[in-house]
C-alpha cells in the first residue's frame, strides 16, 4: 500500500519537490546577499551610535520580495490542503475508482490510513523546509525590527507552519471525504483554512496565555499627541513597542493606579497645558487627528507635566514566551488535524459508498 501510494502521488510529489528546490535556490541566493548586506551595514554600525539610518536603509531592501514570500508562505499550507488533501479521497469518488480500490484485499481503513499518513508526513516535511528557509532568510529583518510576535513573522517562522500544513491537509481530506467532489472541496478548504487562520491569529492567539502587565512612562507610547474627544481636548497614544515581545494593549492610569477617564485628563490639561488646549480647540485641529502645537517646547512641557501624574499600564506577552506560543499553537493545529483525520477514518469505514 505504501508503494502504491508513492506511485499514485508521484506526480504531485515531483511538482512540490520541484517548487521546493526552486524556492530553496531563490532563498539561498537572496539570503546570501541579505546577510552580506546586513553584516557590512547594520552589524558594522559601531555600538552606541545611532544606527537607525543603516537599519532603515536595510529594511527598504526586498520589500516586494518579502511581501511576496509572506503571501506564498501564508498560502503554502492551503495549497497542500487543496492539492493533496482534497483530492485524496474525493477524486476516487469522482472517478468511481473507490469501487476498484475498496474491493481489493485490503481494508478500507488501512487504505485510508496509509495514504493519509504518507501525505501528512510529506506535508510536514514541506512545511518544515519552507519554514526553515524563511526563518533563516528573514533573520536580519527580524533582528532589526525586534518584532517576532508580529503575525508576518510569527506565522511563517518556527514550528507553527507545520501545524498549519497538517491542518490544511486534514481540512482538505475531510471536505473531500464528506462532499466527494474535488473542486468544491478545494474551494471550501481554501476558504475555511484562511478563515480559521485569521480567526486564530487575531482572536484566539492573544488569549492563549494571560498577558503580563507592566508600568511604563507615558513617553514610551507610540504616536503620542493631542486631539479632541467627547469630553474635550485630551491626549491619545498607541501601545508602546517592547523588543520582541507582543504588546497587546495599554491604558493610562493616574498615580493612584486608577484608569484615567477622558474628562479627568481634560480637566488636568486645562490646568496644566492651557496653550495646547486652546490651540487644538481653536479650529486648528480636525477631528481625531493628533496635533502638536507650533512650538515644540510647549508640547514637551505638557507631556512632562502629564508624565508626572500619569503613566501607562501595558499588557503584553513577554519575548520569553515566543516558543511557548509557537509550540502551543502548533499543538492545537496538530490536534485539530488528528481529530479531523479520525473523523475521516470513521466516516470512510462507515461503508457509505
Amino acid at each position: 500500500m505504501i508503494r502504491l501510494t508513492l506511485v499514485q502521488f508521484r506526480l504531485q510529489a515531483i511538482i512540490v519537490a520541484g517548487i521546493l528546490v526552486l524556492a530553496a535556490i531563490l532563498f539561498a541566493i537572496s539570503g546570501q546577499h541579505l546577510y552580506h548586506l546586513y553584516n557590512t551595514t547594520v552589524a558594522a554600525c559601531p555600538a552606541g551610535s545611532d544606527c537607525s539610518a543603516a537599519k532603515d536603509a536595510f529594511l527598504n531592501n526586498h520589500v516586494i520580495l518579502r511581501q511576496l514570500l509572506g503571501l506564498l508562505l501564508l498560502l503554502a499550507p492551503a495549497l497542500l490542503g487543496i492539492f493533496w488533501g482534497a483530492p485524496l479521497v474525493a477524486r476516487e469518488y469522482e472517478s468511481g475508482t473507490f469501487r476498484l480500490a475498496w474491493t481489493q484485499s485490503i481494508s478500507r481503513g488501512r487504505w485510508l490510513l496509509t495514504r493519509v499518513a504518507l501525505l501528512g508526513l510529506a506535508s510536514v516535511i514541506v512545511a518544515a523546509a519552507l519554514s526553515l528557509l524563511f526563518t533563516w532568510w528573514s533573520g536580519p529583518f527580524v533582528r532589526i525590527t525586534a518584532d517576532r510576535f508580529n503575525p508576518g513573522n510569527f506565522d511563517e517562522r518556527g514550528v507553527v507552519a507545520i501545524g498549519y500544513a497538517l491542518f490544511a491537509f486534514a481540512l482538505g481530506l475531510t471536505f473531500g471525504v464528506v462532499i466527494r467532489r474535488t473542486l468544491p472541496a478545494m474551494a471550501l478548504t481554501l476558504a475555511s483554512f484562511l478563515a480559521v487562520r485569521l480567526a486564530f491569529t487575531f482572536l484566539l492567539r492573544p488569549h492563549l496565555m494571560a498577558p503580563h502587565q507592566a508600568s511604563m512612562p507615558l513617553q514610551s507610547g507610540e504616536g503620542l499627541g493631542f486631539s479632541p474627544s467627547a469630553s474635550g481636548i485630551t491626549f491619545s497614544l498607541g501601545t508602546p513597542n517592547i523588543d520582541n515581545a507582543w504588546a497587546i494593549s495599554s491604558k493610562v492610569v493616574d498615580s493612584a493606579g486608577h484608569t484615567a477617564s477622558n474628562s479627568a485628563l481634560h480637566a488636568f490639561m486645562v490646568n496644566a497645558c492651557p496653550a495646547i488646549v486652546s490651540a487644538v480647540g481653536s479650529g486648528q485641529s480636525t477631528q481625531g487627528v493628533n496635533h502638536a502645537p507650533a512650538d515644540p517646547t510647549v508640547f514637551h512641557d505638557c507631556i512632562l507635566k502629564l508624565a508626572q501624574n500619569y503613566h501607562l499600564v501595558v499588557s503584553y506577552q513577554p519575548a520569553s514566551r515566543y516558543w511557548t506560543f509557537q509550540w502551543t499553537e502548533m499543538g492545537i493545529y496538530a490536534g485539530l488535524s488528528l481529530l479531523l483525520a479520525g473523523f475521516c477514518y470513521w466516516w470512510v469505514r462507515r461503508r457509505i459508498a
Binding site: M1, R3, L4, V7, Q8, L11, S95, G96, T97, R99, L100, A101, W102, T103, Q104, S105, I106, S107, R108, R350, R351, I352, A353
Partner: protein
C-alpha cells in the same frame, strides 16, 4: 447445491428512499448467473452490498459463507468489476498490474500477464487512453488475477460497442472455463446474458421475480395462442404469467408442467427476452410499452 450468495430480508435505504427492500435470494455456486431487472430494481445496490461497498440497512447478506468485506481475506475471495469499469486514468496498464499485485496476496501475475499479452495491451499506455473495451478488459484482468472464488460484474458491457461487447463476454467465458469461478453478472440486455449465463435471476422492484437455470426456464414456458373462449380447456396447473386479449383471441405466456392437449391452442417456444419481459411486466404494468430492451439505455 451450495450458495455463493444468500440474502435474507436484505434492504438498503438512502434517506427516505429504499434502493433495495426486503430482498431474499440465493445464488448457487459454480454457475454463471445473470442478474436482470429494470433500472432502479436494486441490481447495483445488491452487488455493492455483496462486495461490501455498502452495508445493509436491514436484513443480512452472506457471500461465500462470510460477511462481505469483513476482512482482507474475504475481500480477496470476491473479484468485482464495477459499473463503467473504473480504472485510474493517469496510471499505466503496468501500474494497474502492480496495483493488483500489491493489494492482493493471492495475486497471480501469470494470469495477468497472459491476459494482457492476449489482449495486446501496451503496458506503458495510460489507462485513460484505452478504448472502452480495453478498459473493461483491464478491469476484468484486475478482478480475475487475484484468483477470486466469485466474480461479480456490474453491467460490464453496458457502455461497449457490439464488437467489444462480444470480445469481453468471450474472454469472460474463457476465464470461467480456465478457473473454477462462479460469476454473477448484471446486464441491460437479455441477449448478452443468454449467450453466457446458465442461471437467471430476475429482480423487479427489489423482489426476486424469477430464478432458475435458463434451459429449465425456457423448457417450462410457452406462448399460447387460441380462442378467447378456450381458456377453460387449459390444464389447471398452468400458470399464466401474462395474457393479452383481442375480441376473439387470447395470447398467453405461461408456465406449463403438462402438455396442452386442446388442438385449438397453438403452442410456441418462447425466447428468453420475451420470458423475462413477461415476468417484469407482472409488477410493472408500464413496462409493457417498452420495446425489446429489458432496460432502457441510459
Amino acid at each position: 447445491m451450495t450458495a455463493v450468495l444468500t440474502a435474507n430480508g436484505l434492504g438498503k435505504r438512502y434517506g427516505r428512499r429504499w434502493a433495495l427492500e426486503n430482498c431474499t435470494l440465493e445464488i448457487p455456486a459454480g454457475q454463471v448467473v445473470g442478474l436482470v431487472g429494470p433500472n432502479g430494481a436494486g441490481k447495483t445496490t445488491l452487488m455493492h452490498l455483496a462486495v461490501g461497498l455498502l452495508t445493509p440497512t436491514t436484513g443480512s447478506i452472506e457471500v461465500l459463507g462470510g460477511r462481505p468485506a469483513e476482512s482482507p481475506a474475504q475481500l480477496g475471495r470476491v473479484g468485482f468489476v464495477a459499473q463503467e469499469t473504473p480504472v485510474y486514468e493517469s496510471m499505466s496498464v503496468a501500474d494497474h498490474l502492480r496495483f493488483g499485485d500489491w493489494l492482493n496476496p493471492t495475486w497471480d501475475q501469470q494470469v495477468a500477464d497472459r491476459r494482457i499479452d492476449q489482449l495486446g495491451l501496451d503496458r506503458s499506455q495510460k489507462a485513460g487512453k484505452l478504448s472502452g473495451g480495453q478498459r473493461a478488459q483491464l478491469a476484468l484482468t484486475l478482478a480475475i488475477a487475484k484468483r477470486p472464488e466469485l466474480l461479480i460484474l456490474d453491467e460490464p458491457v453496458a457502455s461497449l460497442d457490439p464488437l467489444a461487447r462480444r470480445e469481453f463476454l468471450q474472454s469472460l467465458m474463457e476465464v470461467v472455463a480456465e478457473q473454477q469461478v462462479s460469476v454473477v453478472l448484471s446486464s441491460h440486455l437479455v441477449s448478452d446474458l443468454e449467450r453466457v449465463c446458465d442461471y437467471l435471476v430476475v429482480l423487479v422492484a427489489s423482489h426476486v421475480q424469477l430464478t432458475g437455470g435458463i434451459e429449465n426456464l425456457l423448457a417450462a414456458h410457452v406462448r399460447l395462442t387460441g380462442p378467447r373462449s378456450g381458456l377453460e380447456t387449459l390444464p389447471p396447473s398452468l400458470q399464466i404469467i401474462e395474457a393479452s386479449h383481442t375480441d376473439r383471441q387470447s395470447t398467453l405466456i405461461a408456465r406449463v408442467d403438462e402438455p396442452i392437449l386442446d388442438p385449438a391452442w397453438l403452442v410456441e417456444r418462447i425466447n428468453l427476452e420475451d420470458l423475462v419481459l413477461a415476468y417484469m411486466r407482472q409488477i410493472q404494468p408500464d413496462a409493457s410499452a417498452r420495446p425489446h430492451l429489458v432496460e432502457a439505455h441510459r
